[in-house]
Amino acid sequence: MLAVTCERNMSVPKKPGGKALEVLQNLPRITLANLRPEPGSKQREKKRGRGQHGGNRSGRGHKGERQRGTRPRLGFEGGQTPFYLVIPKYGYNEGHSRRPQYQPLSLKRLQYLIDLGRVDPTQPIDLTQLVNARGVTVQPLKRDYGVQLVDEGADIFAAKINIEVQRASEGAIAAIERNGGVISTSFYDPISLGMLIKPVPFFMRGQPIPKRMLPGEDMVPYYTFAKNRGYLADPEKIRQARLALAQKYGYILPDISKDELYHMLSMRKDVRQIFFGLAPGWVVNMPEKKILKPTDEKLLKYYSS
């Protein structure tokens, strides 16, 4: 903190920045010649090789490898097999760049976004809606395959929503269903994920919306299980799983079919659909606000398969 070489007056300021402003207005012009650091803020550097304390052996110790600067490499233990060689190699991080990652989203953060009006609970919540609300940041180029719901904040969560994520923990599923909401997990291949996160740059490209690819062999079991509310699972089994989860966690499962928002809560995307309401094969013309749809048989057959 720079101290100006003058006395400060102790009157109570009546305007903001009061004391400092008054002092500045009454003093002579500040130049380099008027400034000096606060006493005690700057400590003198110890110059090696000079004076009583910096000189003599200059902080190098007495003789040996220490003073002469010929110490062995880091990790060397005098000939004993060093620690970093004694421990055997194991593939903890092998293939780490090929493992799918999921950005965590806690229920507490989701509740915060809904409370601040950044996410609309009256519409189905999609990854696009979450990214538009700046609630999560997903990087498909860093092996992110989407968002996972974490059950931190499950006890304070109180919102009825229709949410679609890529992975969800059991506690999170229970918390959402307890409040009368609907949760489903679905798979997006990396290209579809890039489109989902940034739809506007994709529409500006002028390419037709592609089909969403189905999950790979290792992910099919996850998305066909009713317990995970997978999008490929049997709806009957999902209903049974909802009841089972309600029994396990000890809450009464509210009946969604009698809800006024039932139509919104039951909205689901088709297996090959990326965006709500837009089918694969369509081209979006943003400057003219139009959608171009193909009519050729072969194209329609391909896109609806």
Binding site: Q111, R118, F275, P294
Partner: protein, 173 residues
């Protein structure tokens, strides 16, 4: 060039014109060409519609922070809206862009803990006095503070963001 071809097309027959719009010559049928025709024209094999465009509008990200909906009291996530009228104090602490209390913790050199209160307007020395009193009740110690009148911020030694945020919300900021 294009004019002569359209003339030739007209001379040869109407059926030709029906299948292909006047433009690039017949020999270029294998090449992909960008449609420069007017939007009202119906291109072969494409339907245009404006009904589903509302789904596209839903996907466009908003460029401004939306105003939070009206809440009466504390929300389930712990956020509470500011009071309708500012409290009768000589200072005012505005909310941040995302409608939160501007109290932040800082950690320098690995162990230097500080709490920063930003966006102060009015008499900052009165705020400093109140903060010192409040923290004396909470901790029992006189904590060193630093007032910066230029940036209108207040720094306190130690991490007290939770307590200060609650105290400021209870005041109505």
């Amino acid at each position: 060039m294009a004019a002569s071809f359209t003339l030739r097309g007209a001379l040869l027959g109407v059926s030709r014109l029906r299948c292909r719009t006047p433009g690039p010559p017949a020999g270029a049928a294998g090449l992909r060409f960008v449609c420069n025709a007017g939007p009202e024209e119906r291109r072969a094999g494409i339907i245009e519609s404006t009904e589903e465009y509302k789904f596209v509008e839903r996907l466009i990200p908003p460029s401004r922070v939306p105003a939070p909906p009206r809440h009466a009291g504390v929300t389930p996530s712990g956020w509470s809206p500011p009071a309708d009228s500012p409290p009768p104090l000589p200072y005012v602490i505005r909310r941040s862009r995302m409608h939160n209390i501007p109290v932040y913790t800082d950690l320098t050199n690995g162990s230097r803990k500080m709490t920063l209160i930003r966006k102060v307007e009015g008499d900052i020395w009165a705020l400093e006095k109140d903060v010192k009193e409040f923290l004396k009740e909470v901790t029992g110690k006189e904590l060193p503070t630093q007032v910066n009148e230029v940036t209108m911020t207040l720094k306190v030694k130690g991490h007290f963001d939770g307590e200060l945020k609650q105290w400021l919300t209870s005041k109505g900021f």
